[in-house]
Amino acid sequence: MGEQKLYQASANWLKSAVDALCAAGIEVLAPTQSESGKVDLARVTSSEQVIQSYPNTAFPLKRLFLPMSEVLLEYEKGEEGDVELGPKSAPAKELVILGCRPCDAAALEMLDKVFQWDYSDVPYQEKRDRTTVVSLACSEPSPECFCTSVGGSPQGSEQSDVLVFGGANSAALMQINTAKGEKFIERLADTVTPAPEGTKLPEPTELEQKFDPQKVKGWLDENFESNFWVENSLGCLGCGTCSYLCPTCHCFDIVDEASWNRGQRRRNWDCCSFALFTLHASGHNPRPDQAARYRQRLMHKFKVFPERFGRVACVGCGRCLKNCAVGQNLLADLADIESR
């Protein structure tokens, strides 16, 4: 990396960025708050819809690149028995994501690895290419956060085209990491200025390391068969909340939906907690109970992924433990593993 490019902007940078980008006709996703108080990234058309102060968004970024449900194929059967396949892909429009957290941006690294594994997944990559990610560094991690335990940092810049420090109550400092980031800065024009020479990034926010993934993997390597899996999954309901809110979980299903002579092939999210996930048409299920499915989830994240891609498939956002209906706590489970 060459010289770090830094820019400075006002405390209101988020709102001015929204206005500047919307004025330029670019699609913008920015943090908004729903009636029930949920903070989430949503398409906005004016800075009035945007909030500037929040711990993290309810949803991670993955649904923007791997939508919950997306059309892979359209078909129409003709009179002569022929089949027309579509749709013709439309040129992708530029999209800017403003104000996601560094952990969520870092998760794109894991998704990139999977969706670029020998085969480049076109629907994913198109969305990835058109998108600029502008993250907001964390100054106050939440109690459920543990990014530093999985190789991340509250100020991590991984997969952020731009990383913003400060804002909301203080002036913002923008670190430009990629060419897409530079283009973003150009669009903001007069609301940003190059930071004076010698400007330093703020001191990193401290966040204690809560477990050691190496140690966890060491135990996982030896304990495919263990009572741990049964005991710790007794409470697990087998729903998809943890996976669906996880920034790195990427499993999907492909289904056809037909009506009369036409229909769609769709890619929908799927989840290893579901009994159906691995069920063969013959009725055989390689993962027949919740213990096996719970094991798959942990093994995939903390053993298989490191073995295949060199890092754990977890960014420490803590959404799974925060949202679990029965208080299943990944951190506690990993601490338990580490202590064995």
Binding site: R43, R63, L64, P67, M68, S69, E70, V71, S259, W260
Partner: protein, 154 residues
Amino acid sequence: MSEEKQNQSEKSQWQPRIVAFLCNWCSYAGADLAGMSRRGYPAAIKVIRVPCSGKVDPMFVLKSFERGADMVLVSGCHPGDCHYTSGNYHARRKLLAFRELLDFFGIDQRRFKISWVSAAEGAKWSSLVKEITAEAQALGPFKTFATMLQGEPS
């Protein structure tokens, strides 16, 4: 032609699609009798024969709407006349409760009809179909389901 007029003429040309689930023993025979006695009734109705009105799961109705039906009719034997003694009593409970649920969701319950037509009531069948076809015609295309896929989740 003005737009309004054009809409009107399209509406008059438009034919509703009505899916009818008829029990094998009464209503289907009733419809058959109507045909045999040369009592005409509108062709908008597409008949699906089922063993008993009690067999009709609300999912049949929902699926019909999903696949483009503008109206769905379930018709069985009159109370007390069920070939299987009580299928239509069960249907009555289940389907009326289902209709209340549709209404709760704000889905127009006029789109979902239930009737009793016996094997001897060819005339009732013929007039019933005329009546509900006219109603479906007046209600126009069932947009609730048709438009449901237009907004893709993001």
